[in-house]
């Protein structure tokens, strides 16, 4: 039996050896890096500076500046818009806590096997089809105005509440599909070995499949959170006094749009750190996985 050459490092023909090849590449990149840095700075200055000049020198800029970026109006509208923004945050936090639970239930319902569970699977399919199929804004309008109008005893009557329900239903439908893709990505052999231990179908899911599935989809879930953070603003269509609605009220009163910029700034103040955090988390997760998969 002839074994293959155990030392592939000695390349024939006097080619550069592996190590030195990488070293020289690294040197090249470092030189390239300095030059690339300069190019990046120059092109950034030209791009953004040019854009800025273009806007500022447009004929109507002074009017737009007064309408949208008026410091006076900024100060004046700030407290009300901020007040409204707390409602957005409240909605965001409640739905962020509810959605993963509802979505997981739907995903698990859809992953159950065997003919006995067909009605449950069907129910889950209908749920995702309907709530993914209706535009979120329509759903908010329908539930937010519709259900309180029914005036059913024992059910909350607030538009805010039902608007949030709409948000949760719609987002849960999407999130359930994310979970499901994570469940499907766990190899079938894992299910077999869980079942072989005598675990029931539910126990196999709970202890063997779901922990792996959820870990698979955490990055995707976090991106959903970022998107949810902005979509809570849609509740304004119900007349609920959130940040957007407060800004709107200020605008109708003063014919100045700076309050919208205030609302935008508030949303950015929350979403930028959130996005950075998600990016960092996803990168770290990826690095950890490639490290442990030896």
């Amino acid at each position: 039996m002839s074994a293959p050459d155990p030392q592939p490092s000695g390349l024939p023909g006097g080619l550069p050896r592996r190590r030195s090849f990488f070293q020289s590449t690294a040197d090249m990149l470092r030189q390239e890096g300095a030059r690339a840095g300069i190019i990046a700075v120059v092109s950034t200055v030209v791009f953004f500076g040019g854009g800025f000049l273009l806007v500022v020198n447009s004929p109507n800029w002074p009017r737009v500046r007064d309408q949208f970026f008026n410091p006076e109006d900024f100060r004046e509208s700030w407290p009300d818009v901020l007040d409204g923004f707390w409602l957005n945050i409240e909605l965001f936090v409640y739905s962020m806590l509810t959605i993963p639970v509802v979505a997981l239930i739907v995903a698990v319902m859809r992953s159950l096997r065997g003919p006995a569970f067909f009605p449950i699977r069907l129910l889950a399919v209908i749920y995702t089809d309907i709530f993914r199929g209706i535009p979120l804004i329509l759903l908010i309008l329908l539930l937010g105005f519709g259900v309180p109008a029914l005036d059913i005893d024992g059910l909350p009557n607030s538009s805010t509440f039902w608007g949030m329900v709409a948000l949760v239903l719609s987002y849960s439908a999407y999130t359930a599909e994310i979970y499901r893709s994570g469940i499907d990505a766990v190899p079938e052999s894992q299910r077999s070995s869980a079942r072989a231990l005598g675990l029931t179908q539910w126990q196999s899911l709970r202890f063997a499949i779901l922990p792996q599935a959820i870990r698979n989809v955490v990055p995707a879930l976090m991106n959903t959170v970022v998107s949810l953070q902005k979509d809570v603003a849609l509740i304004a269509v119900l007349g609920v006094r959130d940040a957007v609605r407060e800004a709107q009220i200020y605008t109708t009163r003063t014919f100045n749009y700076t309050s919208y910029v205030v609302a935008a700034v508030l949303f950015l103040a929350l979403s930028i750190p959130l996005t950075r955090f998600v990016d960092w988390y996803v990168a770290r997760d990826r690095a950890q996985r490639s490290q442990t998969l030896v």
Binding site: M1, S189, Q190, S192, S193, A194, R195, A196, L197, G198, L199, T200, Q203, F207, A208, P211, Q212, R215, T292, L293, V294
Partner: protein
Amino acid sequence: MTAKLEIRDVHKSYGDKVVLDGMSFDVDEHEVVCLIGPSGSGKSTLLRCIDLLDPLDAGSIRLDGIDITARNTDANAVRRRVGIVFQSYNLFPHLSVLDNCTLGPRRALGVDRKSADAKARELLERFGLGDKVEEYPNRISGGQNQRAAIVRALMADPEILLLDEVTSALDPELVGEVLGVIRELAGRGMTMLLATHEMGFARDVADRVCFLHEGRVLEDAPPSQLFGSPQHERTAQFLRRVRDAGRI
């Protein structure tokens, strides 16, 4: 006296492909039976069917004389009596070696954590994994993974252990440690049915060897006879090929 495990005229197809085509044989208590044969001869499928992971199309499998393929069988109860180890170990990557071993007993058998842990530690220690108890599957070698998978299957004190080509995914230098474990189990009288490509090992450890061909048992004999003077031309041909490949 009835055999521990009776395979009777078992049929199984996946779509158009017939995998088990009327297979029959017995495994007695404390007996080690090796299944050999070319890929696709139905070894793995049979083992999966015995553990009720796949349903049969026809025929029956009896454990202690009771048909476990009957409609009203409690599959989980059967799986607790039958252990199975897979080619690709299939440990749960999110659980430590210890938790992999205790998951089944704790959740399926209701054993409390303390006694499950103690038992797992003892078994892992015995099979040379005492220092890997807290490790995760992706941080230990394939051989260690497979030994841990065997321990996991032993945790429920199975009456019979099914081993599905448990060394096929291993680097050659790791095969020995896993075969050592199986040898020890055979020495302790564990009833085992193993699908294997390790002919030398089969000759060594098996009480009987079954040569499978196209979903049927073509030859069923003690290893000395089957390897020494195979009765069937197919068997001889298969063994010649294996020998030429240097696997014997």
